[in-house]
């Protein structure tokens, strides 16, 4: 609300183009549900940026062997706690050139006896794309040695550490890239598990109502009263230490889904209940559609978007739970590599002060979680394209 003044009048005249608005409006009337959803989603700028980030993250997770310049377990004895390698774009003559790094030499600080790393500007090494480096097993299937980027010199001579090295001289970037695989997939798999259980139980609860509904609701309420992290801690502590990584990984996923499904079931049930009362479902029933047809043809489509949105929103808590559990040593354990396992490096505050870059996996966690939140938020807003 504002007082009447000339500015308002000007705005008014500019905004009026009746013909064009009509054409635009007509497009809205004939657009399909998914089209409308996309149009609304597109308006959410942060969500779009987040989608790009997530695609990038999952690319790294899928092709981590290729993206990482080094094997995550490889030690570079001469680079213990080395800071991130500085990448230069301007050479000694002040010319702009292809990015390169300088030879780095380790020296002892005469006073503190700590390692310090000094750039030797005599020997530059250009960074190369699609370089051949250490051999690896792509997806454990075949042997390759192609890496996205790296230096053309042998690792013994000079390494490139985008995010520095940890206290054993392992490349933090390579480890973070490998960690993405476990950390990002555990969210997806956990959520799919929760979804399956949640849809079945929530669907029964919402569609049939009555006694099954009451029982399922009680169970959900009960599970939600147990504080999740202590429960997760207790359950994962019970996992035997000698289990292989893959087995522990799935066990952790199951443990996380144990609580996750209650949320999905609530969403599904809520939508079912709301939908049952909708006029279009009623009219479908009145024209004699079968229950199956009503569910698949009428309810599911207007439903799916909500499910996808809630799905996206529950991935972050899974990622966080894994990270937290692994961080305190109850989730995955080395030699498994996840972001939580990597953060164990940061447990000692003094080493943290010396080498803050071991916290970088935390940044990866936060970015991934934020991105999922934004996408989920955008999807949720877009899920109801007719709402204003």
């Amino acid at each position: 609300m504002a007082n009447v003044d000339n500015n308002d009048m000007d705005m008014l005249e500019e905004g009026q183009d009746v013909e064009e608005v009509t054409a635009k409006e007509e497009k809205v009337y004939v657009a399909s549900y998914w089209q409308l959803m996309w149009w609304r989603f597109r308006k959410h700028k942060m969500a779009i940026i987040s989608v790009v980030i997530l695609v990038l993250f999952y690319f790294v997770a899928v092709f981590s062997e290729f993206v990482a310049p080094y094997d995550p377990e490889q030690y570079f004895v001469q680079y213990k706690l080395a800071p991130p390698t500085r990448i230069h774009f301007i050479d000694t003559e002040g010319q702009l050139c292809w990015p390169f790094v300088y030879q780095i030499t380790q020296e002892k600080d005469p006073e503190t006896y700590r390692n310090i790393y000094i750039e030797d500007t005599e020997t530059p090494y250009p960074i190369q794309l699609f370089v051949r480096g250490s051999e690896y097993q792509m997806w454990g299937l075949w042997t390759m040695d192609l890496h996205l980027f790296g230096l053309s010199v042998p690792q013994a001579e000079q390494g490139i550490f985008l995010m520095g090295a940890d206290r054993l001289g392992r490349d933090v970037f390579s480890r973070t890239a490998y960690g993405a695989r476990i950390s990002l997939s555990i969210g997806l798999i956990g959520v799919l598990l929760s979804l399956t259980v949640g849809i079945v139980l929530g669907g029964i609860s919402g569609y049939y109502g009555g006694i099954p509904d009451t029982i399922i609701q009680r169970v959900i309420e009960f599970i939600r009263t147990i504080p999740s992290i202590p429960l997760w801690m207790a359950l994962s502590a019970a996992l035997p230490n000698d289990w292989p990584i893959v087995k522990t990984y799935f066990a952790i996923t199951v443990i996380l889904s144990l609580i996750g499904w209650t949320y999905m079931a609530r969403v599904v049930r809520g939508r079912f209940l709301a939908m049952r009362e909708e006029d279009f479902v009623m009219s479908a029933r009145l024209v004699g559609s079968s229950e199956m047809r009503i569910i698949l043809r009428h309810m599911l489509p207007s439903f799916l978007s909500y499910i996808i949105a809630s799905l996206t929103l529950s991935i972050p808590s899974m990622i966080l739970a894994e990270t937290g559990l692994s961080y305190i040593g109850l989730g995955l354990r080395a030699p498994a590599i996840s972001w939580g396992v990597l953060l164990r490096e940061a447990q000692n505050v003094r080493s943290l002060a010396l080498a803050p870059w071991v916290l970088i996996p935390a940044a990866a966690v936060i970015i991934a979680v934020l991105a999922f939140n934004f996408v989920g938020d955008g999807l949720r807003d877009a899920a109801d394209p007719y709402a204003r």
């Binding site: 009960f222 939600r224 009263t225 147990i226 504080p227 999740s228 992290i229 202590p230 429960l231 801690m233 207790a234 359950l235 502590a237 019970a238 035997p240 972050p316 966080l320 990270t323 937290g324 961080y327 305190i328 040593g329 109850l330 953060l343 940061a346 505050v349 003094r350 943290l352 002060a353 803050p356 916290l359 935390a362 966690v365 936060i366 979680v369 934020l370 939140n373 934004f374």
Partner: protein, 329 residues
């Protein structure tokens, strides 16, 4: 109202029973017999336990008897004698270890909830009443980041910053000289000095969430006809917002205080581990790591019961503030 409370308390009992069963199952989860490992641990420390001592323990826990007998022995021990079992690692009865920690946990969580409301409600109201303004946008981004940043990572970052910038350690709830000292006024003062960093970190996660909830709820309420009625009366805008829609929008807050207490206690566990606070989290973690199961199980039972009671309290508060529920109950 009174009948409502009674009914809710009665409904709580089966929940508590199931919680105790789950806690008991978790106590039983690690492989091996408690007594054998206890004896093994004692002998590892150079002590031996005589046959009589073993017998007494066997009797206390009903070991060797069917599992349900063991469960009843354990539960009745807790209810009738306040006997929570023996901590293997600490060589002390569990009951001597848990209460102080639990009290600190409750204190920390309650203060954190209050702090988070104190920040979240005004901020959320401002954000909703100034929707799409620049401050609203900034606050939304901040609260989004707050929701996305897990408490234990934040704790880690704060520790790092305090260490690198101020060269100060922020861990713990007490200065070292008070750590083992008995409670005194000086110790309380010392604790209050240490309290604010953990409280802020614990509060942050729920604050960000609460800002978003307040904002969303209030946005729903702002367009309700009763707000227009109040406006048409000639009420001042600020006054009417706080008296009517905020009042209604905060109801879901009270109804979820139980759950937010649960998630606070839960989230606090990890934060406490990072900041090495003298609360339940680190001790429970240690107990789990060393398979000190009576201690760990007791913590799980206590924390869960705390949540159940928290939910009950929030339901009662909700019934008290919302006449619609009060009358239905």
């Amino acid at each position: 109202m009174f009948g409502y409370i009674i009914r809710r308390v009665l409904l709580m009992i089966p929940t508590l029973i199931v919680i105790s069963i789950i806690s008991f199952v978790i106590i039983q989860l690690p492989p091996g017999d408690y007594l054998t490992s206890y004896a093994a641990q004692l002998s590892a420390q150079g002590d031996t336990i005589d046959a009589q001592g073993l017998k007494a323990l066997e009797e206390r826990y009903g070991l060797g008897q069917p599992i349900h007998v063991q469960y009843f022995k354990w539960v009745s021990g807790i209810i009738l004698r306040g006997d929570w079992g023996q901590s293997m690692e600490w060589q002390k009865p569990v009951k001597d270890l848990i209460w102080e920690r639990l009290a600190l946990t409750i204190l920390l969580s309650s203060v954190a909830i209050l702090v988070s409301w104190f920040i979240a409600i005004p901020v959320g109201v401002y954000s909703a009443t100034h929707q799409y303004s620049i401050p609203d946008y900034v606050l939304s981004v901040i609260s989004f980041v707050g929701v996305g940043t897990p408490g234990f990572l934040l704790a880690l970052i704060v520790m790092y910053l305090a260490m690198s910038q101020l060269n100060q350690s922020v861990g713990g709830l007490f200065s070292s000289e008070f750590l083992l000292a008995p409670w005194s006024l000086a110790k309380v003062v010392d604790m209050l000095k240490h309290l604010w960093i953990p409280v802020l970190i614990i509060a942050l996660e729920s604050t960000a969430g609460s800002i978003r909830t307040t904002r969303a709820n209030l946005l729903d309420e702002l367009n309700k006809p009763y707000v227009e009625t109040a406006r048409a009366k000639g009420l001042e805008e600020g006054k009417l917002i706080w008296k009517y829609p905020v009042r209604v929008a905060l109801n879901p807050f009270f109804s979820t205080v139980g759950w937010s207490l649960a998630s606070l206690i839960s989230g606090q566990t990890l934060i406490a581990v990072v900041l090495s606070l003298q609360t339940t989290g680190p001790m429970m973690l240690r107990a789990l790591m060393s398979q000190d199961m009576y201690l760990a199980g007791s913590f799980l039972l206590l924390l869960s019961s705390l949540t159940v009671i928290g939910t009950l309290v929030s339901d009662i508060i909700l019934a008290w503030v919302d006449p619609r529920i009060r009358l239905r109950g």
